[in-house]
């Protein structure tokens, strides 16, 4: 048993933390959030050069990591700094799906992703699918020598920046079937593809995606026809580890900001953190933070095991609850200052809470845990 990071991961963590501390200040980050692109190309390139993206892929795909703990280390640091750049979408989801399913030709895109030269987006969720992974109503129909896509995709993160969208569509089966779902590489400039972009509350941008008779060659299909669900579930599992770790990192920052505030701000001549009620509540946050850290370790450590889904459901349920507590209590213990947009905690709290809306919220994961435990 060993809970220490390997030397390589420790180095990655240190490098990443230093880079972000210098470059990703509150002021810079708030400017990035308000920019038209919604993220910084400089930061993206800088982090790619540091190897952040490479750490998310295995050696057989040109990276030097790709395991659960690699994902956890990277995203914990991204979370600590409140990074809004779309590593989840381009690398874990987009790049991960191509790495898992792509032909040799398609795999070339992974190399581009690792180098920082290509953005991707995973266009999967639909207006009424909520968190149900197998609910795909977008259709893919064979026509002439190609395929025609029709449908609508909801809240597709990073869609506007993506060179290609990885679009899920149904080739057979009923609306909720796992079988019959395929993935397609749709170039940003494809005819019939329309994006309606908007900023997201916790930073970054997304788009509503309409596919209106989008015609593709069959070579645009990623993997075997109708057989993409397994790969989707696997990459979404990795995304859940990433989201859990990112939330953990943000929770660390929230508690650190709160500690600093409690020890700096004075009332009646004493730091308010020395008052018992706040001190005890702060202790509870620290306890939940350690629980969240253990949950991330469990999820990351089981990413390639048979118990994967149950461990991930467990971790995301715990982090959903602990995250809400940390976000709300940190704001409450700060008081008014935490309500202002320019204060670091405001953005950090939004990252924590809004992560609960990607790939299943606290309740969704609780139900999944119950179902998987009963199985």
């Amino acid at each position: 048993m060993n809970f220490d990071l390997t030397e390589e991961r420790q180095m990655l963590q240190d490098t990443l933390r230093r880079f972000l501390k210098d470059r990703y200040t509150t002021e810079n980050r708030n400017k990035i959030i308000e920019s038209e692109a919604g993220f910084s190309a400089d930061i993206w390139t800088g982090l790619a050069e540091l190897g952040v993206i490479g750490a998310l892929f295995g050696e057989d795909h040109g990276g030097f990591g790709g395991a659960g703990f690699d994902i956890a280390v990277v995203f914990e640091e991204l979370g600590r700094a409140g990074v809004v750049e779309p590593f989840l979408d381009t690398a874990i989801l987009g790049g991960g799906l191509i790495a898992a399913l792509g032909t040799d030709d398609q795999q070339a895109m992974v190399e581009q992703v690792i180098g920082g030269g290509l953005h991707l987006a995973f266009a999967h969720g639909e207006p009424t699918s909520r968190y149900d992974l197998s609910r795909v109503q977008t259709t893919a129909k064979a026509e002439d020598d190609g395929i025609v896509l029709n449908g609508r995709k909801a809240v597709v993160a990073n869609a506007e920046a993506a060179g290609h969208l990885i679009v899920s569509a149904r080739e057979s089966g009923a609306a909720d079937d796992e079988a019959g779902i395929s993935l397609f590489l749709v170039p940003a400039e494809a005819k019939g593809l329309t994006l309606r972009g908007y900023p997201m509350l916790s930073g970054g941008r997304a788009a509503e995606v309409t596919l209106d008779d989008v015609r593709l060659p069959t070579s645009a299909r990623l993997g075997a026809a109708g057989d993409a669900f397994g790969a989707i579930a696997t990459q979404v599992a990795a995304a859940n580890v990433a989201l859990a770790a990112e939330t953990l990192g943000a929770m660390e920052t929230a508690t650190e900001l709160t500690r600093d505030y409690l020890m700096t701000r004075k009332q009646f001549g004493r730091p308010i953190g020395t008052f018992q009620a706040l001190a005890h509540r702060f202790s509870d946050l620290l306890i939940e933070l350690e629980q969240a850290r253990s949950a991330v370790i469990n999820a990351a450590g089981h990413l390639d095991t048979a118990d994967r889904d149950r461990q991930i459901a467990s971790a995301r349920n715990l982090i959903g609850r602990a995250g809400r507590l940390v976000a709300e209590e940190s704001i409450q213990m700060h008081g008014g200052i935490a309500m202002t947009q320019e204060y670091e905690l405001a953005h950090i709290a939004k990252r924590i809470v809004m992560n609960d809306h990607r790939f299943g919220d606290t309740d969704y994961h609780l139900e999944r845990f119950i179902a998987l435990s009963a199985a």
Binding site: R130, V155, L201, H357
Partner: protein
Amino acid sequence: MDLSYSPEDIAFRDEVRAFLAEKLPKDTAEKIRNGEELGKEGQERWHALLNEKGWLAPNWPKEFGGAEWNAVQRHIFEEECAFANAPRIVPFGLSMLAPVLQKFGSKAQCDHYLPRILDGTDWWCQGYSEPGAGSDLASLKTRAVREGDHYIVNGQKTWTTLGQYADWIFCLVRTDPDAKQQEGISFLLIDMATPGVEVRPIILLDGTHEVNEVWFTDVKVPVENLVGEENKGWTYAKYLLTHERTNIAGVGASAAGLDAVKRMARAEMSGGKPLMQNPQFAARIAQVEIDLMAMSTTNLRIISKAAVGQAPGVEASMLKVKGTIIRQEINDLARRAAGPYAMPFASEMVEGDNDPIGPDYAGPVAAQYFNYRKLSIFGGSNEIQRGIIAKVKMGG
């Protein structure tokens, strides 16, 4: 024991309902229902409609043009307004300053200011909080120095709600720097157009501009703008704070919010069924509804005491704490209910008229969730309220 309204109360409720059905502008109600901001003009339009009916100042004595309702009537009015998605009355002039003027102000001040509050000539804001003072008003630093017929005011106020719309601000200022903590404070009315007054926006974490910093640099204020006696401002401030505390439980707003959550949960599908039938979500809704049913009765119990002249006292603190917990829980449920469509940042939707991105109910819920964290912070944080409750109840 009688849980039902008297026939008079019911007649009054019906009158309120009829008025709202007839007079509340449809577009106003629609905006409130969707959590959109109303803006200055929208508020003023509603104030004017109420004033026309004589209902703009429920708690003012009739001699000043008020409705002079009792606490139960005020409760009925507030509850009906919440259900009809009517805007809440902006309280600064009507519910906060006016009672102070009526009790401590000069006849000249009453004659001048009160009609202008009613007819919308003056929009007032509040200058209480200061940076670093938190909920502790007694440590305030803004100075007013008497020079001839004027005070010269220097200092800074913060968390000034809707100060960007205001014509006037009522302020607590320190007039005797040598006096102890709560003494040496005066209550001053300041024209926002005076040179040296500067309003700087504070953007809240959900992107909204509700509150402001107000800076005073050598601002000349005529001495006749002093309310009551110099250095007695703390007395007036405390009086004001008790008047601020009407509708503190927010039962009507919570009930309307819970209804909205249920509508969302009936529309959202989860695992092939309406979210409303999801056992976890149904349990969350039921739990908060049960809490709200009890809170509604707690509120009525306290109000019915107030109606016969018994002061609410520490109960107001209890209503504040539990009321905000319930409202914030409802906001959390709304956020959850919206699912992935809670993520778009619909600030332009909130203020403008663009098409919604997802279902129309989803647009503002996450922003509201964050915005309403303020409920347990501003106006005396829940920690302050718990301290008051413990002090009063353990002393007994």
